[in-house]
């Protein structure tokens, strides 16, 4: 994994205004972060914390109130950057009168792609997302999970190097979400960069390298998942086939240093605990926020 940034966000703010320009919500407040090439980046946060807003700003769907975004070395307003980006929206906003094949063919035509490649990728993706049986049915007949799957397929039609997924596992059955996570890891293995939002913490923990936690439009935490979840109070010793004598000796050594061994095993910390702690802390101390030192 290189450290070259694929996405650079600097002081990004977004205020939603109504028709008359009156302020409605400040959805995002001075967000700065980088996403590096080849990593899986997770954006976490409770409902309405500005995750979707961030993704839309990255894509140029919304115009920032303040701040700048550079994505694949181009400004967000430059549509040519989309040539190398795939985006799975929060809900699949697709043309309901098209069937799966026509959908993928249509989006494929928007990219520089030969007809043969387009056909081939359409078949591959339909196969991959498990819609082979429904490829000729109009999307308006699809169930939520099926729509989600075709949405994912359209995001990957151009074989993008940067993939933005807005709640990729929502609406999917356990099997589907397992597949989705496997797919994300597979894409990562191919060297793609992935940014995803999710509330499903287990999913994030499984696949993300780094995460950012947003709360009310502000960045609260930004770090590697491993580091964040490392319990500083504890020391974990992992050894293979430690004989009982050795354990006794280690306990003795620990006792000599005044430490007590709670248990021999893995620490029981999960991302869920961290997430809840951050949100509670933030609610108690509204002013405090995470300041990103690596960025800017």
């Amino acid at each position: 994994m290189s450290t070259e940034p694929v996405i650079q966000i600097r002081n990004l703010s977004k205020v939603y205004r109504d028709f008359w320009g009156r302020k409605k919500v400040r959805a995002l407040n001075s967000l700065s972060l980088d996403v590096r090439r080849g990593e899986v980046f997770g954006l976490l946060g409770p409902n309405g914390s500005g995750k979707t807003t961030t993704l839309k700003l990255l894509l140029g769907l919304l115009f920032p109130t303040e701040g700048e975004v550079s994505i694949l070395g181009k400004p967000a307003s430059d549509v040519s950057k989309n040539e190398r980006i795939g985006y799975l929206p929060e809900e699949s906003y697709l043309y309901r009168f098209l069937n799966a094949e026509e959908t993928l063919d249509f989006y494929g035509r928007l990219f520089k792609m030969t007809p043969a490649t387009r056909k081939q990728r359409t078949d591959e993706l339909i196969e991959m997302v498990g819609l082979k049986g429904a490829r000729r049915r109009q999307l308006k007949e699809y169930s939520k999970g099926m729509t989600r799957r075709i949405g994912l397929a359209q995001a990957l039609i151009n074989d993008p190097e940067l993939i933005l997924l807005d709640e990729p596992t929502s609406g999917l059955d356990p099997l589907g979400s397992r597949d989705m996570k496997d797919l994300i890891l597979k894409l990562k293995a191919q060297g793609k960069t992935i940014v995803m939002c999710s509330h499903l913490l287990a999913d994030v923990q499984d696949v993300c390298d780094r995460i950012a936690i947003l709360y009310q439009g502000e960045l609260k935490v930004l770090d590697r998942v491993d580091d964040l979840l490392r319990n500083q109070e504890m020391t974990q010793i992992r050894a293979s086939k430690l004989p009982p004598d050795a354990i006794k000796e280690i306990e003795a050594i620990a006792a000599r240093y005044g430490a007590k061994i709670h248990e021999i095993g893995q620490p029981q910390n999960t991302l869920e605990e961290l997430f809840l702690k951050v949100i509670r802390d933030s609610a108690e101390r509204p002013g405090q926020r995470f300041v990103n030192t690596s960025a800017s």
Binding site: D18, L61, T65, Y87, P89, S92, F97, F106, Y107, Q154
Partner: protein, 553 residues
């Protein structure tokens, strides 16, 4: 075709009006966009810097705003000039599919039903077939217009707003698609549907015509070549027009019989191409008599053509003949004529001068009058098949449809479906009924005479209770006000041109009366009319779409 003067398209005037109106509109749009950019940036700076330093906020806002404005403009023109045919094509096919799956093609069923029942109302086998043709032809062409226009109207007013509302456009704009491609793709998509429907309807309509009136298939349409007209009064001096015999609408001007009064037609572009199969030039006339006394009722009024070559001073008289009132009289002219000195002259070489043919018309019956208007005498070129004329008229309906699509889709980039429908509806109603009213309003003819200067001057007059007839006193401020008013007055003077003239596209008047749809005064103005609206609509529509976040709210 009675009392209708097909005026040839005037390139110079067309472009001039177009240039002025578009120029002023763009100028207005540019100023507005610039002001909005600067305003929004200033407000932003104000929020950031704080209310303490208004000057600095203003300065920053001005700088950033101008930069953003310039960027937007440059980017915009790049987007408009470099569009990918592949993506435009993909979007138009999508729109086509959408329309078809929304059951737009049902209008064809309605069309079919129209024709199933039309027979009951139209067919009157006892009528003279020659009188039935105009009714049937007009019916078919009107049916096509009235069915296709509402269909494309709805498709183009609601398509884009619905796409934004359903957020399906969201996913599209995350692909490398320019906003210009979305706009143009949508216009083309609706046009494709419309074209399909018009094509089917016109072919079916034509076949129906041929079945209902078998004589139609044999009909030829006249291809008239019109000239210009001028007059000589009874003393033989040039006059602006002839005599008015008491018509309210003076379409025809009258010349008195047995005097030096003449009507003079000049035709240009006369070449052997216009000759008929026997090598003769055919002159057709539709001259009306006005009798001051009974005269010889058995015989009509006599009139005479004289062919003139003014440069070589050759005059050749054609033998006089009676006018056939209320019918057209067709005279093939031999190439061999005798001039006034009894020398043989050739029409096409001696009389026609540089492609220009001058024909003088005289009335020979004493005390009777002959009425003529420009289109009353014309050279009849080789006839064209009826089908050609019919399909040219259909093409004009298509052009009108295209114009409405372009307008409606462009409007729908910035407003929602109901508002877009309303605006387009207003434009259509004004275009059909209101142009003359606007014309009289802005040119100050007739009842709506316009006094008191432009907007600023009038405002000044209102504030100071000054009578609009009183001239402004001279001075610096008066000049300033009047200079500022000039572009507005100029715009107002041409504002009629913002509204498309739907009369331009009505070709039934030619086809129904057995005329070919002319190029110069029929097709060409229709094409230019459409193009004139295409460019500004697409440009403004594009910038509106580009400035939107496409978040449905």
């Amino acid at each position: 075709m009675n009392d209708y003067d097909p005026i040839p398209f005037n390139w110079l005037m067309g472009f001039q009006t177009w240039g002025i109106v578009c120029g002023l509109m763009f100028l207005g749009a540019v100023i507005l966009a610039f002001a909005l950019q600067v305003l929004s940036h200033t407000l932003q700076e104000f929020e950031q810097i704080g209310p303490g330093k208004p000057r600095r906020s203003l300065f920053q806002g001005l700088r950033n705003g101008s930069a953003a404005f310039a960027n937007g403009l440059i980017e915009g023109f790049q987007d408009l000039f470099w569009m990918s045919p592949r993506r435009v094509g993909a979007i138009s096919v999508l729109v086509f599919r959408e329309s078809v799956r929304r059951k737009t093609l049902l209008v064809l069923v309605v069309f079919a039903i129209c024709f199933l029942f039309a027979g009951w109302f139209l067919s009157d086998p006892n009528r003279d077939p020659l009188l039935r043709i105009p009714i049937y032809v007009t019916f078919v062409l009107t049916a096509i217009s009235w069915l296709i226009l509402p269909a494309v109207f709805l498709l183009s007013c609601w398509g884009l707003p619905d796409d934004i509302k359903a957020r399906s456009l969201h996913t599209v704009v995350t692909k490398p698609v320019k906003r210009s491609e979305i706009l143009v793709g949508r216009i083309l998509g609706v046009t494709m549907v419309g074209t399909l429907v018009v094509a089917v309807m016109s072919v079916v309509g034509f076949l129906w015509l041929v079945r209902a009136l078998p004589e139609v298939s044999g009909i030829q349409t006249r291809v008239p070549v019109f000239g210009t007209i001028s007059f000589l009064d009874r003393e033989g001096k040039p006059a602006k027009e002839g005599i008015n015999v008491g018509d309210i609408n003076m379409f025809r001007s009258y010349i008195e019989g047995d005097t030096a009064a003449r009507a003079i037609w000049k035709f240009s572009g006369v070449s052997p191409r216009l000759l008929n199969k026997d090598g003769k030039l055919v002159l057709e006339s539709k001259i009306q008599g006005f009798r001051t006394h009974k005269g010889n009722l058995e015989r009509g009024i006599i009139f005479q053509y004289t062919f003139v070559n003014p440069t070589r001073n050759i005059r050749a008289k054609f033998q006089p003949f009676e006018i056939a009132e209320f019918r057209d009289s067709i005279k093939p002219i031999d190439n061999d004529l005798i001039d006034e000195q009894n020398h043989p002259v050739k029409l096409m070489t001696d009389i026609v001068d540089n492609g220009q043919l001058t024909v003088e018309v005289a009335c020979l019956s004493t005390g009777q009058f002959l009425g003529m208007a420009r289109p009353d005498v014309f050279i009849r070129a080789q006839d064209a098949p009826f089908a050609a004329s019919f399909f040219k008229a259909v093409l004009c309906i298509w052009l009108m449809m295209f114009l409405i699509i372009v307008f409606a889709v462009s409007v729908s980039t910035i407003v929602k479906g109901p508002v877009a429908s309303f605006l387009t509806g207003v434009i259509i109603v004004l275009g059909v009924f209101g142009r003359d009213f606007m014309q009289s309003l802005v040119t100050g003819e007739g009842d709506h005479k316009w006094n008191g200067g432009g907007m600023l001057e009038s405002a000044y007059r209102i504030v100071t209770h000054m009578n609009p007839m009183v001239p402004m006193e001279k001075g610096f401020w008066t000049t300033v006000v009047q200079v500022l008013d000039t572009p507005m007055l100029l715009f107002a003077g041409h504002s009629r041109a913002i509204i498309p003239d739907f009369e331009t596209f009505q070709m039934a008047k030619f086809v129904a009366h057995g005329y070919d749809v002319p190029w110069n005064s029929g097709l060409l103005p229709a094409i230019m009319h459409t193009l004139a609206f295409l460019v500004p609509c697409v440009v403004l529509g594009y910038f509106c779409l580009k400035s939107r976040e496409l978040e449905s709210k």
